[in-house]
Protein backbone atom coordinates (compact mmCIF):
# COMPACT_ATOMS: atom_id res chain seq x y z
CA UNK A 1 0.00 0.00 0.00
CA UNK A 2 2.68 2.46 1.10
CA UNK A 3 4.93 1.35 -1.75
CA UNK A 4 2.14 1.72 -4.27
CA UNK A 5 1.50 5.22 -3.05
CA UNK A 6 5.19 6.05 -3.40
CA UNK A 7 5.25 4.86 -7.01
CA UNK A 8 2.13 6.86 -7.81
CA UNK A 9 3.71 9.91 -6.22
CA UNK A 10 6.88 9.61 -8.31
CA UNK A 11 4.83 9.06 -11.44
CA UNK A 12 2.96 12.28 -10.69
CA UNK A 13 6.21 14.11 -10.06
CA UNK A 14 7.52 13.05 -13.46
CA UNK A 15 4.31 14.18 -15.14
CA UNK A 16 4.49 17.56 -13.38
CA UNK A 17 8.12 17.95 -14.39
CA UNK A 18 7.29 17.18 -18.01
CA UNK A 19 4.24 19.43 -18.11
CA UNK A 20 6.09 22.38 -16.62
CA UNK A 21 9.41 22.08 -18.31
CA UNK A 22 9.02 20.49 -21.76
CA UNK A 23 7.58 23.59 -23.47
CA UNK A 24 10.40 25.69 -22.06
CA UNK A 25 12.96 23.05 -22.99
CA UNK A 26 11.75 23.20 -26.57
CA UNK A 27 12.18 26.97 -26.60
CA UNK A 28 15.69 26.74 -25.15
CA UNK A 29 16.64 23.87 -27.46
CA UNK A 30 15.47 25.75 -30.55
CA UNK A 31 17.52 28.77 -29.66
CA UNK A 32 20.83 26.98 -29.07
CA UNK A 33 21.10 24.32 -31.77
CA UNK A 34 21.90 24.99 -35.43
CA UNK A 35 18.89 25.38 -37.68
CA UNK A 36 19.79 22.21 -39.60
CA UNK A 37 19.49 20.12 -36.44
CA UNK A 38 16.27 21.83 -35.47
CA UNK A 39 14.64 21.47 -38.88
CA UNK A 40 15.59 17.84 -39.42
CA UNK A 41 12.67 15.41 -39.13
CA UNK A 42 12.46 14.52 -36.29
CA UNK A 43 14.58 17.26 -34.71
CA UNK A 44 17.64 16.57 -32.57
CA UNK A 45 16.12 16.34 -29.12
CA UNK A 46 19.44 16.50 -27.30
CA UNK A 47 21.77 19.29 -28.37
CA UNK A 48 24.94 17.83 -29.89
CA UNK A 49 26.21 21.09 -31.35
CA UNK A 50 25.55 24.22 -29.40
CA UNK A 51 25.59 27.63 -31.03
CA UNK A 52 25.03 31.10 -29.69
CA UNK A 53 24.65 32.45 -33.21
CA UNK A 54 20.93 33.20 -32.72
CA UNK A 55 21.51 35.30 -29.64
CA UNK A 56 24.39 37.07 -31.32
CA UNK A 57 22.33 37.94 -34.35
CA UNK A 58 19.46 39.17 -32.18
CA UNK A 59 21.43 41.19 -29.67
CA UNK A 60 24.49 42.33 -31.62
CA UNK A 61 24.62 41.95 -35.37
CA UNK A 62 20.93 42.17 -36.16
CA UNK A 63 19.12 41.47 -39.37
CA UNK A 64 17.03 43.73 -41.54
CA UNK A 65 13.29 43.96 -41.38
CA UNK A 66 11.55 41.70 -43.86
CA UNK A 67 8.84 44.26 -44.43
CA UNK A 68 11.50 46.83 -45.34
CA UNK A 69 10.69 49.54 -42.82
CA UNK A 70 14.28 49.45 -41.67
CA UNK A 71 14.05 48.48 -38.02
CA UNK A 72 16.47 45.68 -37.25
CA UNK A 73 15.75 42.82 -34.89
CA UNK A 74 18.47 44.09 -32.57
CA UNK A 75 16.76 47.45 -32.28
CA UNK A 76 13.39 45.84 -31.61
CA UNK A 77 14.76 43.67 -28.84
CA UNK A 78 17.12 46.16 -27.25
CA UNK A 79 14.72 49.09 -27.24
CA UNK A 80 11.95 46.84 -26.01
CA UNK A 81 14.12 45.56 -23.18
CA UNK A 82 15.09 49.06 -22.08
CA UNK A 83 11.51 50.33 -22.23
CA UNK A 84 10.23 47.35 -20.28
CA UNK A 85 12.92 47.78 -17.64
CA UNK A 86 12.02 51.46 -17.21
CA UNK A 87 8.28 50.84 -17.03
CA UNK A 88 8.44 47.79 -14.77
CA UNK A 89 11.19 49.25 -12.58
CA UNK A 90 9.43 52.57 -11.99
CA UNK A 91 6.07 50.92 -11.37
CA UNK A 92 7.70 48.63 -8.83
CA UNK A 93 9.34 51.53 -7.00
CA UNK A 94 6.12 53.51 -6.86
CA UNK A 95 4.16 50.52 -5.60
CA UNK A 96 6.78 49.81 -2.96
CA UNK A 97 6.04 53.23 -1.46
CA UNK A 98 2.30 53.53 -2.01
CA UNK A 99 1.05 50.00 -1.35
CA UNK A 100 2.04 49.95 2.35
CA UNK A 101 0.63 53.45 2.88
CA UNK A 102 -2.72 52.69 1.30
CA UNK A 103 -2.86 49.26 2.91
CA UNK A 104 -2.12 50.88 6.26
CA UNK A 105 -4.92 53.39 5.83
CA UNK A 106 -7.45 50.61 5.37
CA UNK A 107 -6.01 48.21 7.92
CA UNK A 108 -5.54 50.60 10.83
CA UNK A 109 -7.22 53.96 10.46
CA UNK A 110 -10.83 54.84 11.10
CA UNK A 111 -12.32 57.68 9.14
CA UNK A 112 -15.67 58.64 7.60
CA UNK A 113 -16.27 57.03 4.21
CA UNK A 114 -13.73 54.25 4.70
CA UNK A 115 -15.87 51.57 3.09
CA UNK A 116 -16.73 53.89 0.23
CA UNK A 117 -13.06 54.55 -0.51
CA UNK A 118 -12.28 50.88 -0.25
CA UNK A 119 -14.95 49.90 -2.73
CA UNK A 120 -13.94 52.74 -5.02
CA UNK A 121 -10.42 51.28 -5.22
CA UNK A 122 -11.32 47.59 -5.22
CA UNK A 123 -14.25 48.19 -7.56
CA UNK A 124 -11.71 49.04 -10.24
CA UNK A 125 -11.12 45.29 -10.62
CA UNK A 126 -14.68 45.02 -11.86
CA UNK A 127 -14.20 47.69 -14.54
CA UNK A 128 -13.52 45.61 -17.62
CA UNK A 129 -10.49 46.26 -19.76
CA UNK A 130 -11.97 47.00 -23.19
CA UNK A 131 -14.21 49.94 -22.22
CA UNK A 132 -11.27 51.40 -20.31
CA UNK A 133 -8.81 50.87 -23.13
CA UNK A 134 -11.05 52.41 -25.76
CA UNK A 135 -11.69 55.41 -23.49
CA UNK A 136 -8.03 55.61 -22.50
CA UNK A 137 -6.95 55.71 -26.11
CA UNK A 138 -8.87 58.94 -26.71
CA UNK A 139 -7.97 60.33 -23.27
CA UNK A 140 -4.27 59.58 -23.80
CA UNK A 141 -4.29 61.13 -27.26
CA UNK A 142 -5.78 64.35 -25.86
CA UNK A 143 -3.33 64.48 -22.95
CA UNK A 144 -0.35 63.66 -25.16
CA UNK A 145 0.31 60.47 -23.24
CA UNK A 146 -0.02 58.19 -26.25
CA UNK A 147 3.24 56.44 -27.05
CA UNK A 148 5.05 57.63 -23.93
CA UNK A 149 6.74 55.63 -21.19
CA UNK A 150 5.15 57.93 -18.61
CA UNK A 151 1.67 56.97 -19.80
CA UNK A 152 2.46 53.27 -19.46
CA UNK A 153 3.88 53.77 -15.97
CA UNK A 154 0.85 55.70 -14.72
CA UNK A 155 -1.40 53.07 -16.19
CA UNK A 156 0.37 50.11 -14.66
CA UNK A 157 0.60 51.81 -11.25
CA UNK A 158 -3.14 52.45 -11.35
CA UNK A 159 -3.85 48.85 -12.28
CA UNK A 160 -1.69 47.44 -9.50
CA UNK A 161 -3.45 49.62 -6.94
CA UNK A 162 -6.55 47.52 -6.15
CA UNK A 163 -4.67 44.23 -5.84
CA UNK A 164 -1.77 45.65 -3.86
CA UNK A 165 -4.09 47.59 -1.55
CA UNK A 166 -6.15 44.50 -0.99
CA UNK A 167 -3.09 42.43 -0.28
CA UNK A 168 -1.32 44.91 1.99
CA UNK A 169 -4.50 45.50 3.97
CA UNK A 170 -4.84 41.77 4.46
CA UNK A 171 -1.21 41.44 5.41
CA UNK A 172 -1.33 44.30 7.90
CA UNK A 173 -4.50 42.88 9.41
CA UNK A 174 -2.46 39.83 10.34
CA UNK A 175 0.28 41.91 12.02
CA UNK A 176 -0.54 42.17 15.74
CA UNK A 177 -1.31 45.67 16.99
CA UNK A 178 0.35 45.36 20.42
CA UNK A 179 3.71 46.60 19.19
CA UNK A 180 2.34 49.74 17.60
CA UNK A 181 0.12 50.38 20.59
CA UNK A 182 3.26 50.30 22.68
CA UNK A 183 4.99 52.68 20.27
CA UNK A 184 1.98 55.00 20.38
CA UNK A 185 2.08 55.06 24.16
CA UNK A 186 5.76 55.98 23.90
CA UNK A 187 4.75 59.08 21.95
CA UNK A 188 5.00 57.92 18.33
CA UNK A 189 2.61 59.53 15.83
CA UNK A 190 0.41 57.29 13.71
CA UNK A 191 2.68 57.79 10.73
CA UNK A 192 5.75 57.28 12.90
CA UNK A 193 4.37 54.02 14.27
CA UNK A 194 3.73 52.94 10.74
CA UNK A 195 7.26 53.54 9.51
CA UNK A 196 9.06 52.38 12.63
CA UNK A 197 6.98 49.41 13.68
CA UNK A 198 4.52 48.22 11.08
CA UNK A 199 6.63 48.57 7.96
CA UNK A 200 9.50 46.39 9.22
CA UNK A 201 7.00 43.76 10.35
CA UNK A 202 5.26 43.72 7.01
CA UNK A 203 8.40 43.54 4.92
CA UNK A 204 7.70 40.00 3.65
CA UNK A 205 4.28 41.17 2.49
CA UNK A 206 5.79 44.23 0.87
CA UNK A 207 8.29 42.06 -0.98
CA UNK A 208 5.41 40.08 -2.43
CA UNK A 209 3.72 43.27 -3.60
CA UNK A 210 6.92 44.57 -5.16
CA UNK A 211 7.72 41.38 -7.03
CA UNK A 212 4.24 40.72 -8.31
CA UNK A 213 4.03 44.35 -9.45
CA UNK A 214 7.25 43.93 -11.39
CA UNK A 215 6.01 40.78 -13.09
CA UNK A 216 2.66 42.38 -13.89
CA UNK A 217 4.11 45.43 -15.55
CA UNK A 218 6.76 43.42 -17.39
CA UNK A 219 4.17 41.05 -18.80
CA UNK A 220 1.62 43.73 -19.72
CA UNK A 221 0.68 43.47 -23.39
CA UNK A 222 -2.82 44.53 -24.36
CA UNK A 223 -2.58 48.11 -23.11
CA UNK A 224 0.86 48.86 -24.61
CA UNK A 225 -0.18 47.22 -27.87
CA UNK A 226 -2.89 49.85 -28.20
CA UNK A 227 -1.28 52.83 -26.47
CA UNK A 228 2.19 52.76 -28.03
CA UNK A 229 3.22 52.80 -31.66
CA UNK A 230 6.91 53.57 -31.95
CA UNK A 231 10.06 52.06 -30.52
CA UNK A 232 10.28 55.10 -28.27
CA UNK A 233 7.93 53.42 -25.85
CA UNK A 234 7.06 49.91 -27.03
CA UNK A 235 7.87 47.39 -24.29
CA UNK A 236 9.47 44.04 -25.02
CA UNK A 237 6.16 42.18 -25.09
CA UNK A 238 4.97 44.31 -28.00
CA UNK A 239 8.26 44.25 -29.89
CA UNK A 240 8.40 40.47 -29.48
CA UNK A 241 4.95 40.08 -31.00
CA UNK A 242 6.12 42.13 -34.00
CA UNK A 243 9.39 40.30 -34.14
CA UNK A 244 7.48 37.03 -34.33
CA UNK A 245 5.56 38.41 -37.26
CA UNK A 246 8.57 39.38 -39.32
CA UNK A 247 10.75 36.29 -38.93
CA UNK A 248 7.93 33.88 -39.53
CA UNK A 249 10.13 31.11 -40.87
CA UNK A 250 13.16 31.55 -38.62
CA UNK A 251 11.93 29.83 -35.51
CA UNK A 252 15.37 29.61 -33.97
CA UNK A 253 15.80 33.40 -34.09
CA UNK A 254 12.31 33.95 -32.74
CA UNK A 255 12.93 31.46 -29.93
CA UNK A 256 16.09 33.30 -28.95
CA UNK A 257 14.13 36.57 -28.89
CA UNK A 258 11.37 35.02 -26.80
CA UNK A 259 13.94 33.66 -24.35
CA UNK A 260 15.48 37.11 -23.95
CA UNK A 261 12.03 38.45 -23.06
CA UNK A 262 11.29 35.76 -20.49
CA UNK A 263 14.66 35.70 -18.72
CA UNK A 264 14.01 38.74 -16.46
CA UNK A 265 10.59 37.61 -15.18
CA UNK A 266 11.80 34.03 -14.77
CA UNK A 267 14.86 35.13 -12.81
CA UNK A 268 12.68 37.24 -10.56
CA UNK A 269 10.24 34.38 -10.10
CA UNK A 270 13.00 31.91 -9.22
CA UNK A 271 14.86 34.21 -6.84
CA UNK A 272 11.79 35.40 -4.98
CA UNK A 273 9.39 32.49 -5.26
CA UNK A 274 8.92 32.38 -1.50
CA UNK A 275 7.43 35.87 -1.55
CA UNK A 276 5.38 35.23 -4.66
CA UNK A 277 3.75 32.24 -3.03
CA UNK A 278 2.97 34.35 0.01
CA UNK A 279 1.61 37.09 -2.21
CA UNK A 280 -0.65 34.84 -4.25
CA UNK A 281 -2.00 32.90 -1.28
CA UNK A 282 -2.37 35.91 1.00
CA UNK A 283 -3.96 38.05 -1.69
CA UNK A 284 -6.68 35.56 -2.41
CA UNK A 285 -7.70 34.77 1.17
CA UNK A 286 -7.43 38.01 3.01
Amino acid sequence: MIKGKRILLYLCIIIILGWSFIPLYWLILSSIIPQVDLYSIPPHWIPTRITLENFKSILITGKGFRGGIGTTATELIKKGLINSLIVAGTTTLIMAVTAPLVGYVFARLNFPGKNLFFFYIIGMIAVPSWPVLIGLFSEFSKLGLLDTLGGLIILSVAYRMPFDTWFMKGYLDSVPTELEDAARIDGCTLLGAMFKVILPLSLPGLMAVVIISFLFSWNMFMAPLILTYTLKSKPITVTISEFVGQYYAEWNLMSAGALVAIIPPILVALLFQKYIIKGIVGGAIK
Binding site: L17, I121, L155, Y159, A258, A284
Partner: protein
Protein backbone atom coordinates in the same frame (compact mmCIF):
# COMPACT_ATOMS: atom_id res chain seq x y z
CA UNK B 1 2.92 67.08 25.83
CA UNK B 2 6.01 66.74 23.74
CA UNK B 3 4.38 68.46 20.81
CA UNK B 4 4.09 71.76 22.62
CA UNK B 5 7.84 72.28 22.49
CA UNK B 6 7.99 72.13 18.70
CA UNK B 7 7.47 74.95 16.19
CA UNK B 8 4.09 75.75 14.73
CA UNK B 9 4.50 74.06 11.33
CA UNK B 10 5.83 71.03 13.03
CA UNK B 11 2.83 71.02 15.24
CA UNK B 12 0.50 71.01 12.30
CA UNK B 13 2.51 68.26 10.67
CA UNK B 14 2.18 66.26 13.85
CA UNK B 15 -1.50 66.98 13.83
CA UNK B 16 -1.89 65.52 10.38
CA UNK B 17 0.48 62.65 11.04
CA UNK B 18 -1.47 61.88 14.18
CA UNK B 19 -5.02 62.52 13.02
CA UNK B 20 -6.52 59.38 11.55
CA UNK B 21 -8.96 61.23 9.35
CA UNK B 22 -6.55 63.72 7.76
CA UNK B 23 -3.78 61.18 7.35
CA UNK B 24 -6.16 58.83 5.58
CA UNK B 25 -7.46 61.52 3.23
CA UNK B 26 -3.98 62.80 2.50
CA UNK B 27 -2.90 59.35 1.36
CA UNK B 28 -6.12 58.44 -0.44
CA UNK B 29 -6.82 61.57 -2.48
CA UNK B 30 -3.99 61.09 -5.02
CA UNK B 31 -4.94 57.42 -5.38
CA UNK B 32 -8.58 58.31 -5.93
CA UNK B 33 -7.66 60.86 -8.61
CA UNK B 34 -5.30 58.44 -10.35
CA UNK B 35 -7.88 55.68 -10.45
CA UNK B 36 -10.53 58.08 -11.66
CA UNK B 37 -8.48 59.09 -14.69
CA UNK B 38 -7.13 55.64 -15.44
CA UNK B 39 -10.28 53.58 -14.98
CA UNK B 40 -13.59 55.26 -14.25
CA UNK B 41 -13.30 58.27 -16.52
CA UNK B 42 -12.20 56.28 -19.60
CA UNK B 43 -14.97 53.80 -18.87
CA UNK B 44 -17.51 56.62 -18.86
CA UNK B 45 -15.95 58.05 -22.01
CA UNK B 46 -16.29 54.76 -23.80
CA UNK B 47 -19.87 54.46 -22.61
CA UNK B 48 -20.48 57.75 -24.40
CA UNK B 49 -18.86 56.31 -27.54
CA UNK B 50 -21.10 53.28 -27.28
CA UNK B 51 -24.09 55.54 -27.86
CA UNK B 52 -22.51 57.18 -30.89
CA UNK B 53 -21.71 56.35 -34.45
CA UNK B 54 -17.96 56.81 -34.09
CA UNK B 55 -15.45 55.56 -36.60
CA UNK B 56 -11.92 56.77 -35.87
CA UNK B 57 -11.28 56.93 -39.59
CA UNK B 58 -14.23 59.26 -40.14
CA UNK B 59 -14.22 61.33 -36.92
CA UNK B 60 -16.17 64.16 -38.54
CA UNK B 61 -19.20 61.93 -39.05
CA UNK B 62 -19.55 61.02 -35.36
CA UNK B 63 -23.08 61.46 -34.09
CA UNK B 64 -25.43 60.23 -31.40
CA UNK B 65 -27.33 57.04 -32.25
CA UNK B 66 -28.74 55.91 -28.90
CA UNK B 67 -28.78 52.18 -28.34
CA UNK B 68 -28.30 51.36 -32.02
CA UNK B 69 -24.80 50.00 -31.54
CA UNK B 70 -25.98 47.57 -28.89
CA UNK B 71 -28.83 46.40 -31.08
CA UNK B 72 -26.48 46.00 -34.04
CA UNK B 73 -24.08 43.89 -32.00
CA UNK B 74 -26.77 41.71 -30.47
CA UNK B 75 -28.33 41.13 -33.88
CA UNK B 76 -25.03 40.12 -35.42
CA UNK B 77 -24.53 36.34 -35.66
CA UNK B 78 -20.77 36.94 -35.31
CA UNK B 79 -21.42 38.06 -31.75
CA UNK B 80 -23.15 34.83 -30.83
CA UNK B 81 -20.43 32.75 -32.42
CA UNK B 82 -17.84 34.67 -30.43
CA UNK B 83 -19.92 34.28 -27.27
CA UNK B 84 -20.18 30.53 -27.84
CA UNK B 85 -16.42 30.28 -28.34
CA UNK B 86 -15.78 32.31 -25.21
CA UNK B 87 -18.17 30.19 -23.15
CA UNK B 88 -16.51 27.01 -24.41
CA UNK B 89 -13.07 28.41 -23.71
CA UNK B 90 -13.99 29.44 -20.17
CA UNK B 91 -15.75 26.18 -19.36
CA UNK B 92 -12.93 23.94 -20.58
CA UNK B 93 -10.23 26.15 -19.05
CA UNK B 94 -11.89 26.30 -15.64
CA UNK B 95 -12.52 22.55 -15.49
CA UNK B 96 -9.07 21.55 -16.70
CA UNK B 97 -7.16 24.04 -14.60
CA UNK B 98 -8.95 23.15 -11.37
CA UNK B 99 -8.44 19.40 -11.92
CA UNK B 100 -4.77 19.67 -12.85
CA UNK B 101 -4.01 22.18 -10.12
CA UNK B 102 -5.73 20.03 -7.50
CA UNK B 103 -3.56 17.04 -8.41
CA UNK B 104 -0.42 19.18 -8.61
CA UNK B 105 -1.04 20.78 -5.24
CA UNK B 106 -1.76 17.44 -3.55
CA UNK B 107 1.52 16.09 -4.94
CA UNK B 108 3.47 19.18 -3.91
CA UNK B 109 2.00 18.90 -0.44
CA UNK B 110 3.67 15.47 0.01
CA UNK B 111 7.13 15.07 1.44
CA UNK B 112 9.79 14.10 -1.06
CA UNK B 113 13.30 15.06 -1.99
CA UNK B 114 13.57 18.03 -4.30
CA UNK B 115 10.13 19.38 -3.51
CA UNK B 116 11.31 23.03 -3.47
CA UNK B 117 12.88 22.54 -6.91
CA UNK B 118 9.70 21.07 -8.34
CA UNK B 119 7.65 23.85 -6.83
CA UNK B 120 9.95 26.44 -8.41
CA UNK B 121 9.67 24.73 -11.79
CA UNK B 122 5.90 24.65 -11.59
CA UNK B 123 5.87 28.38 -10.95
CA UNK B 124 7.93 29.24 -14.02
CA UNK B 125 4.99 29.06 -16.40
CA UNK B 126 3.16 31.69 -14.40
CA UNK B 127 5.99 34.22 -14.70
CA UNK B 128 6.26 34.03 -18.49
CA UNK B 129 4.66 36.93 -20.37
CA UNK B 130 1.40 35.58 -21.81
CA UNK B 131 2.27 36.92 -25.22
CA UNK B 132 5.50 34.90 -25.26
CA UNK B 133 3.55 31.90 -24.04
CA UNK B 134 1.32 32.22 -27.08
CA UNK B 135 4.35 32.31 -29.34
CA UNK B 136 5.90 29.32 -27.58
CA UNK B 137 2.82 27.21 -28.21
CA UNK B 138 2.58 28.39 -31.79
CA UNK B 139 6.05 26.98 -32.23
CA UNK B 140 5.36 23.78 -30.26
CA UNK B 141 2.35 23.12 -32.49
CA UNK B 142 3.96 24.28 -35.73
CA UNK B 143 3.03 22.16 -38.71
CA UNK B 144 6.41 22.12 -40.44
CA UNK B 145 9.00 21.63 -37.71
CA UNK B 146 7.12 21.82 -34.39
CA UNK B 147 7.68 19.87 -31.20
CA UNK B 148 4.37 17.99 -31.15
CA UNK B 149 4.87 16.72 -34.68
CA UNK B 150 8.46 15.80 -33.92
CA UNK B 151 7.69 13.83 -30.78
CA UNK B 152 4.69 11.99 -32.25
CA UNK B 153 6.73 11.15 -35.33
CA UNK B 154 9.65 10.00 -33.19
CA UNK B 155 7.42 7.50 -31.39
CA UNK B 156 5.74 6.42 -34.61
CA UNK B 157 2.31 7.77 -33.66
CA UNK B 158 1.98 9.77 -36.87
CA UNK B 159 3.52 9.01 -40.23
CA UNK B 160 3.72 12.61 -41.43
CA UNK B 161 3.67 16.07 -39.89
CA UNK B 162 0.28 17.67 -39.35
CA UNK B 163 -0.83 21.32 -39.15
CA UNK B 164 -2.45 21.17 -35.70
CA UNK B 165 -3.90 24.66 -35.72
CA UNK B 166 -5.63 24.34 -39.07
CA UNK B 167 -8.90 22.76 -37.95
CA UNK B 168 -11.04 25.52 -36.34
CA UNK B 169 -12.29 23.44 -33.41
CA UNK B 170 -8.81 22.04 -32.73
CA UNK B 171 -7.38 25.56 -32.83
CA UNK B 172 -9.83 26.69 -30.16
CA UNK B 173 -8.87 23.72 -27.99
CA UNK B 174 -5.18 24.40 -28.42
CA UNK B 175 -5.74 28.04 -27.52
CA UNK B 176 -7.47 26.85 -24.36
CA UNK B 177 -4.54 24.56 -23.54
CA UNK B 178 -2.15 27.48 -23.95
CA UNK B 179 -4.05 29.40 -21.32
CA UNK B 180 -4.41 26.32 -19.11
CA UNK B 181 -0.66 25.82 -19.17
CA UNK B 182 0.07 29.35 -18.02
CA UNK B 183 -2.66 29.59 -15.43
CA UNK B 184 -2.36 26.19 -13.73
CA UNK B 185 0.65 27.21 -11.57
CA UNK B 186 -1.25 30.14 -10.10
CA UNK B 187 -4.12 27.93 -8.98
CA UNK B 188 -1.71 25.23 -7.82
CA UNK B 189 -0.06 27.71 -5.49
CA UNK B 190 -3.42 28.94 -4.21
CA UNK B 191 -4.53 25.41 -3.42
CA UNK B 192 -1.16 24.46 -1.97
CA UNK B 193 -1.40 27.39 0.42
CA UNK B 194 -4.83 26.23 1.53
CA UNK B 195 -3.59 22.64 1.92
CA UNK B 196 -0.72 23.72 4.11
CA UNK B 197 -3.03 25.58 6.43
CA UNK B 198 -4.97 22.40 7.25
CA UNK B 199 -3.82 21.34 10.75
CA UNK B 200 -1.96 18.02 10.71
CA UNK B 201 -3.68 16.92 13.91
CA UNK B 202 -6.87 16.43 11.92
CA UNK B 203 -5.18 13.75 9.84
CA UNK B 204 -3.54 12.18 12.88
CA UNK B 205 -6.77 11.80 14.74
CA UNK B 206 -8.49 10.51 11.61
CA UNK B 207 -5.77 7.87 11.27
CA UNK B 208 -6.23 6.87 14.89
CA UNK B 209 -9.88 6.34 14.07
CA UNK B 210 -8.78 4.05 11.26
CA UNK B 211 -9.37 6.30 8.26
CA UNK B 212 -7.43 5.48 5.09
CA UNK B 213 -5.72 7.91 2.76
CA UNK B 214 -8.73 8.03 0.49
CA UNK B 215 -11.25 8.88 3.19
CA UNK B 216 -8.83 11.47 4.57
CA UNK B 217 -8.84 13.12 1.15
CA UNK B 218 -12.58 12.85 0.80
CA UNK B 219 -13.69 13.86 4.29
CA UNK B 220 -10.95 16.22 5.45
CA UNK B 221 -8.92 17.68 2.59
CA UNK B 222 -11.60 18.39 0.01
CA UNK B 223 -14.18 19.94 2.35
CA UNK B 224 -11.53 22.18 3.89
CA UNK B 225 -10.28 23.09 0.44
CA UNK B 226 -13.72 24.09 -0.76
CA UNK B 227 -13.52 27.83 0.10
CA UNK B 228 -10.24 28.18 -1.80
CA UNK B 229 -11.58 26.12 -4.70
CA UNK B 230 -14.50 28.54 -4.98
CA UNK B 231 -12.18 31.53 -5.00
CA UNK B 232 -9.89 29.87 -7.55
CA UNK B 233 -12.85 28.98 -9.75
CA UNK B 234 -13.95 32.57 -10.02
CA UNK B 235 -10.45 33.95 -10.52
CA UNK B 236 -9.91 31.49 -13.39
CA UNK B 237 -13.27 32.45 -14.88
CA UNK B 238 -12.38 36.13 -14.88
CA UNK B 239 -8.99 35.58 -16.47
CA UNK B 240 -10.22 32.99 -18.96
CA UNK B 241 -13.00 35.30 -20.07
CA UNK B 242 -10.54 38.08 -20.83
CA UNK B 243 -7.72 36.13 -22.47
CA UNK B 244 -6.20 38.20 -25.23
CA UNK B 245 -2.40 37.97 -25.35
CA UNK B 246 -2.10 34.26 -26.00
CA UNK B 247 -4.69 34.16 -28.73
CA UNK B 248 -3.19 37.26 -30.33
CA UNK B 249 0.13 35.51 -30.93
CA UNK B 250 -1.15 31.95 -31.31
CA UNK B 251 -3.78 32.45 -33.99
CA UNK B 252 -4.21 36.21 -34.31
CA UNK B 253 -7.60 37.23 -35.68
CA UNK B 254 -8.31 33.77 -37.07
CA UNK B 255 -12.11 33.33 -36.90
CA UNK B 256 -11.61 29.91 -35.29
CA UNK B 257 -10.42 31.45 -32.04
CA UNK B 258 -12.22 34.77 -32.21
CA UNK B 259 -13.51 35.12 -28.66
CA UNK B 260 -15.41 38.20 -27.52
CA UNK B 261 -12.13 39.88 -26.56
CA UNK B 262 -10.59 39.26 -29.97
CA UNK B 263 -13.79 40.32 -31.70
CA UNK B 264 -13.76 43.59 -29.78
CA UNK B 265 -10.11 44.21 -30.61
CA UNK B 266 -10.88 43.69 -34.27
CA UNK B 267 -13.88 46.01 -34.18
CA UNK B 268 -12.26 48.82 -32.21
CA UNK B 269 -8.65 48.86 -33.24
CA UNK B 270 -8.37 46.98 -36.54
CA UNK B 271 -11.49 48.53 -38.03
CA UNK B 272 -11.57 51.74 -35.97
CA UNK B 273 -15.23 51.30 -35.07
CA UNK B 274 -15.03 52.86 -31.62
CA UNK B 275 -18.80 53.14 -31.29
CA UNK B 276 -19.53 49.47 -31.99
CA UNK B 277 -16.41 48.40 -30.14
CA UNK B 278 -17.44 50.31 -27.03
CA UNK B 279 -20.91 48.80 -27.12
CA UNK B 280 -19.44 45.31 -27.35
CA UNK B 281 -16.97 46.23 -24.61
CA UNK B 282 -19.89 47.06 -22.36
CA UNK B 283 -21.63 43.82 -23.19
CA UNK B 284 -18.42 41.98 -22.22
CA UNK B 285 -18.29 44.23 -19.17
CA UNK B 286 -21.71 43.08 -18.00
CA UNK B 287 -20.54 39.47 -18.04
CA UNK B 288 -17.37 40.42 -16.21
CA UNK B 289 -19.27 42.44 -13.67
CA UNK B 290 -21.50 39.51 -12.84
CA UNK B 291 -18.51 37.20 -12.35
CA UNK B 292 -16.66 39.74 -10.21
CA UNK B 293 -19.76 40.40 -8.17
CA UNK B 294 -19.96 36.73 -7.27
CA UNK B 295 -16.24 36.75 -6.54
CA UNK B 296 -16.40 39.53 -3.99
CA UNK B 297 -19.57 38.08 -2.51
CA UNK B 298 -18.02 34.64 -2.14
CA UNK B 299 -14.88 36.06 -0.56
CA UNK B 300 -16.95 37.86 2.00
CA UNK B 301 -18.86 34.70 2.69
CA UNK B 302 -15.66 32.68 3.12
CA UNK B 303 -14.05 35.30 5.33
CA UNK B 304 -17.03 35.17 7.65
CA UNK B 305 -16.62 31.42 8.08
Amino acid sequence: MKIKNKGKWQESFYNIADNEKWLAYLILVPVVILIFFMAYFPAIQSFRFSLMYYNTRLPARAHFVGLNNYIKILKNPLFFEALKRTAYFVLIAVGTILCIALVFSLVLNENFKGRPILRALVMLAWAIPPVVNGFMWKWLLNGDFGFLNGILYQFGLISSYKPWLKDPFAALNWATLTFVWRFTPFVTILLLGALQSIPLELYDSAKVDGAGARSCLWYITLPLLRPMLTIALIIVMIFAFTVFDEIYTLTGLDPATKTLMMYDYELSFEKGRFGLGSALAYIIGIFMFLITYFYIKSIYKEVKH
